[in-house]
Symmetry: C2
Subunit: 201 residues, 2 copies
């Protein structure tokens, strides 16, 4: 067969990924997952990754751009799942419930999501100047913005930003792991925040 191979996720007309590139990407991803599983995301160094994947350091950076980029790639599956939940899933997280209830559910979901992927998220956010250029972050922000607008907030864009920072991964992880606040308590406080913010005048 001489047909063009199917490459999902590659924008039409993208210049074709070379076979060695594909192979190295697999090796890197696999090695990275191993290292994270065995030492934790925080302890993963780019040198160690390159070495374990039997690849030059330049290749690692060519592929992921930065340490943060690597962490984002590692996160993308879980992240997509969470996104799917609030965009298409059943209410109250998904469409169909009142904005207030969706926001409460969103925050709760986010808290538990962060606690499951905390190391990766911290590593992804910490390194570079892209804390907010991450597509996933943009999407979450936009989601909250829409809900806040529906609920009659005057400046939903800025308010969504405030709430985004209130749910900052570092904040959540440190509250729970360093300052000993239970996830439930965080979720309850989030509920109080959203409830008071959005109740009718």
């Amino acid at each position: 067969m001489s047909s063009i191979p199917i490459r999902p996720d590659v924008p039409l007309g993208a210049p074709h990924e070379r076979s060695d590139a594909a192979r190295n990407r697999e090796r890197l991803l696999s090695a990275a997952r191993d290292l994270v599983a065995e030492l934790g995301a925080e302890a993963l160094t780019m040198d160690a990754l390159a070495c374990k994947a039997k690849v030059g350091k330049g290749t690692v950076f060519r592929r992921f751009g930065s340490r943060a980029g690597l962490m984002m790639t590692l996160l993308s599956d879980s992240e997509s799942e969470f996104q799917h939940g609030f965009m298409f899933g059943p209410p109250p997280l998904g469409p169909g419930a009142a904005p207030k209830d969706r926001l409460v559910a969103f925050g709760e979901g986010r808290i538990y999501f962060v606690l499951e992927n905390g190391e990766l998220l911290k590593a992804a956010g910490a390194a570079t100047r892209n804390r907010f250029d991450v597509p996933a972050t943009k999407l979450s922000h936009r989601h909250m913005e829409v809900l806040l607008r529906e609920a009659g907030i005057a400046d939903p864009w800025v308010m969504a930003m405030s709430l985004t920072y209130a749910l900052d991964p570092e904040r959540i992880v440190d509250d729970v792991r360093v300052r000993g606040i239970s996830p439930t308590r965080l979720a309850d406080s989030w509920r109080e925040l959203v409830t008071r913010l959005l109740r009718a005048a």
Copy 2:
């Protein structure tokens, strides 16, 4: 004269600062201020500072502990002033006004404070694992906590944490400088947040 020299700010019984240490501290502080003025806080490297102050690198770290520590030292004057404002100054920022109004004023004040000292604050917060171990941050948090408790919030400690992150220096600076949001708009949104959060049921 053989009397003990007066050393304000040094806790009683502190082990006495040696004269060479004092001299180097002055040199370092002065050099650091020069470098910040001339290149900006972001571009200040510890090597350059040591070099400019004619001091070994070890001395720099002995004195300030880390880059973040240095930035905090550089900030401490402005920070004290702001603290004095919300603790002892005239209402609505200081005592005497309703908690809601004090919180609104606090956030506004904080926004403008951050915009004046943004580079330093970002540099102070970014480097180490002490984002919340900073005394100044603790004090701000405690201040908000007290106001929120007075206003009937169920879990003022956690809520104060949410608001602390909503006022994160990086968030404020990037909103204004990268995303083009005006300080006024930020302040208005903060007012909306606090007003809705604290209005009577």
